[in-house]
């Protein structure tokens, strides 16, 4: 090879290297959200399914997310991965004779669980039903908007995730991004979900919601006390759902879910189904309860009842 040729090839290589570098930078710049976040972008891209992570891997991820969220929402954000409490199986009771349809639960839930404000995502839907027809979903109305509630001739039925014992949504997921935890809560790994929405087609209660665009969550409204599988901020293109406020209920000094706490008429009951002294067991044993769409054998742990 003559000098000339060698140099030519050298020049060519250099330019090709430059070109490749430029291309990589270009693609990088397109893919990266901002600043020098490149490392965390790749880390989250290659992140494994949450259930396959060991303790230390989880710690790394939680720390990364805390850093990311804290920067984005300009306040210290905590991301927990508190496991289920041993001996707990959560159940929920909803007293239809008390519910007045005020939707405070809907917005209490949004505030607690960092749902998107624009577009609005509601994990709880309150159906207005005609007293004459009873629980007839076909004739229900979700968009009722009177000056005051309750309205004459109607009653109200809030619907949210029923935390089925036999959930149709988890079994259809093609990548096991959603599953039922030991305490009965059905969760989604927002970093593993591919956004196919098959689970939404499978859910008979309309309990799953999709982030059709990047969730609009103003920094001031962001609740910084979060759980990885629960109310941490969600990315675009994934499914989310009610987790019985696991960031509250799974803690040792546990609190009630936000919707239970906010209900002005005490229509909402929550507790451990395995604890004979719990409020929910009391409801089941002493009231006439029913579950929604019993014929589908989903075995909800969400019990509707009439106290009067």
């Amino acid at each position: 090879m003559s000098d000339m040729e060698e140099r030519d090839e050298h020049v060519f290589r250099l330019t090709r290297r430059k070109a490749l570098k430029g291309l990589a930078l270009g693609i990088g710049a397109m893919a990266l959200p901002a600043k020098d976040a490149s490392a965390s972008v790749w880390e989250s891209f290659f992140q494994k399914n949450f259930r396959e992570l060991n303790r230390s891997e989880r710690q790394v991820i939680l720390a990364r997310l805390e850093k990311e969220y804290s920067a984005r929402y300009k306040k210290p954000v905590r991301v927990k991965d508190t496991p289920p409490i041993e001996g707990a199986l959560y159940g929920y009771g909803l007293d239809l004779s008390r519910c007045v349809g005020c939707r405070r639960c809907v917005y209490g839930c949004v505030t607690e669980n960092n749902q998107s404000r624009d577009p609005q995502i509601h994990w709880i839907k309150v159906l207005r039903l005609e007293k004459e027809r009873g629980v007839d979903l076909e004739h229900s109305e979700q968009y009722y908007n009177p000056a005051t509630v309750p309205e004459e001739g109607y009653f109200y039925m809030p619907v949210q995730c029923q935390q089925c014992e036999n959930p149709p949504c988890t079994k259809v997921c093609p990548v096991q991004a959603t599953w039922k935890e030991i305490d009965g809560i059905v969760v989604v790994d927002y970093n593993w979900c591919i956004g196919c929405r098959y689970c939404m087609a499978a859910c008979p209660y309309g309990a799953r919601h999709f982030n059709w665009k990047a969730p609009g969550l103003p920094a001031g409204d962001m609740n910084p006390e979060t759980h990885y599988l629960g109310n941490r901020p969600r990315p675009v293109g994934v499914v989310e759902k009610c987790t019985f406020c696991m960031q509250r209920t799974r803690e040792r000094d546990g609190k009630y879910p936000a919707c239970v706490e906010v209900c002005p008429v005490g229509a909402r009951k929550f507790g451990n189904l395995l604890d004979p002294a719990s409020e929910i067991r009391n409801v089941i044993e002493n009231k006439r309860v029913f579950i929604l769409k019993e014929d589908l054998n989903t075995q909800p742990k969400f019990y509707y009842f009439y106290s009067v």
Binding site: N49, V172, V175, Q176, I194, H209, A214
Partner: protein, 430 residues
């Protein structure tokens, strides 16, 4: 291995050669693809909010197109069975075209599923070992498996056969025949699994009917072959390939039987829903009559029903079946009819009314339409390029040259108005 490489290189040489029409056609498809890519980039940037899908109707135009196209792909076996099980010569000559249709259709299917994903960047989660494929629990996982198997199978069979013809020898049927036989249940499986994907959801009474899978298959054996008949005639008119009328009429006859079964099953379904008159009637009513003032799909489904019925009679009566004008009318009617019935007509009523009785009427946005057009164009492009290779090979216009290395390309033009005799000319790679 060297021979395979020489074959592939020859194919690429061949793809570059063609008439003005060939170039125009390919360019037109490329333009549509570029438009589709731009629309998809827009969707990636803003999220699926730019589609008309929402929490009530979570699948729309993309999945409708996907469902329909699975049927088109499955229909290839309507050629494979008469060709290789019954060894019927007129169809055997063109069976390979059916496999190429299947390959192109599966490409379209996979693209439609991909553009529907909220997180296409995480598609690798579906790959076993690297990600987690929830097999055998999720029917979507099954679909991933059978669609890819079917793609590989058809691509392998057609590729091997063309490769053999290129080197001017008969394909070794010892290998091909079992694969061909396996492609029959594989074709049935892609369609059955896709039907089960809907069928298994108790939450959606419109889909939760056992008749769904048989109906899927029956309608697939209408739309796919109808499309193929049209395509065969176009191909026969514009390229050098010979396709006998006998083959076409036989396919048309098979379509008539398939359509009869399809209509019968539809009737059974409608009877059950209307006579029992339970709350599960709502989606059917929404589709056929409109419900509570919501009636977006009514005109479409009746168009489809009338088209399908008309086509059925056109295919049933031998005189109209064997008349090219009425035959082609029948094919067009049936293709459109099944496209509506199996596409939007199947997917959307599953979501309307939604599980809590909410009505959200879906109709696709321009983004969805442009992306879908781009995907269809991609399918046509794949098919055109495959045909560009297959047609000359089948006509002995493209094979290995006398030196056993360089390709002989006899067909320089490919797309020309009926049988212009081209001067044979050996083209060697420079």
């Amino acid at each position: 291995m060297q021979k395979v490489w020489a074959f592939v290189r020859g194919c690429f040489l061949l793809l570059r050669k063609g008439s003005k029409l060939y170039y125009t056609w390919v360019s037109a498809l490329l333009v549509l693809i570029v438009i589709g890519v731009v629309a998809y980039a827009n969707q990636m940037y803003y999220g699926l909010i730019v589609t008309a899908m929402r929490d009530q109707v979570t699948w729309g135009f993309y999945i409708s197109n996907f469902t329909f196209t699975v049927g088109v792909a499955a229909a290839a076996i309507l050629l494979v069975i008469p060709a290789y099980v019954y060894q019927w010569k007129p169809i055997k000559e063109i069976a390979i075209l059916g496999e190429l249709v299947a390959v192109s259709a599966i490409v379209v299917c996979l693209l439609f599923v991909t553009v529907d994903l909220g997180r296409p960047d995480r598609f690798w989660h579906l790959i076993p070992k690297i990600g987690i494929l929830n097999f055998p629990q999720s029917l979507l996982a099954w679909d991933v498996v059978v669609l890819n198997t079917y793609l590989v199978l058809n691509f392998g069979i057609a590729g091997y056969m063309l490769y053999s013809y290129y080197y001017q020898r008969e394909p070794n049927m010892k290998y091909v025949f079992p694969l061909l036989m396996f492609s029959i249940p594989a074709a049935i499986s892609i369609h059955t699994v896709t039907a089960f994907l809907y069928n298994g959801l108790a939450a959606r009474p419109f889909w939760n009917a056992s008749i769904l899978a048989p109906r899927f298959l029956a309608s697939a054996f209408c739309s796919g072959p109808a499309g193929m008949i049209l395509m065969f005639q176009i191909v026969r008119k514009w390229t050098n390939i010979e396709i006998q009328d006998k083959a076409i009429f036989k396919i048309a006859e098979l379509i008539a039987y398939a359509m009869f079964i399809n209509l019968f099953l539809l009737g059974s379904e409608l009877f059950k829903e209307y006579y029992s008159d339970t709350i599960h009637l709502a989606p059917v009513k929404y589709l056929y009559q409109g419900l509570d003032g919501h009636s977006d799909l009514v005109s479409f489904i009746w168009t489809a029903t009338i088209f399908n019925l008309t086509a059925f009679f056109l295919f049933l009566i031998p005189q109209t079946r064997e008349n090219h004008v009425t035959l082609n009318i029948g094919c067009v009617l049936m293709f459109i009819g099944v496209y509506i019935e199996k596409g939007m007509g199947l997917v959307i009523p599953g979501f309307v009314p939604d599980v809590l009785g909410d009505f959200y009427e879906y109709s696709p946005t321009s983004t969805e339409i442009l992306v879908s057009m781009g995907i269809w164009a991609t399918g046509l492009l794949v098919f055109t390029l495959l045909m560009r290779i297959a047609v000359p090979i089948m006509n002995h216009d493209f094979h290995v040259g006398e030196d056993g290395v360089k390709p002989h390309i006899g067909d320089q033009l490919f797309l020309v108005r009926k049988r212009v005799v081209v001067e044979e000319e050996d083209i060697y790679s420079p």
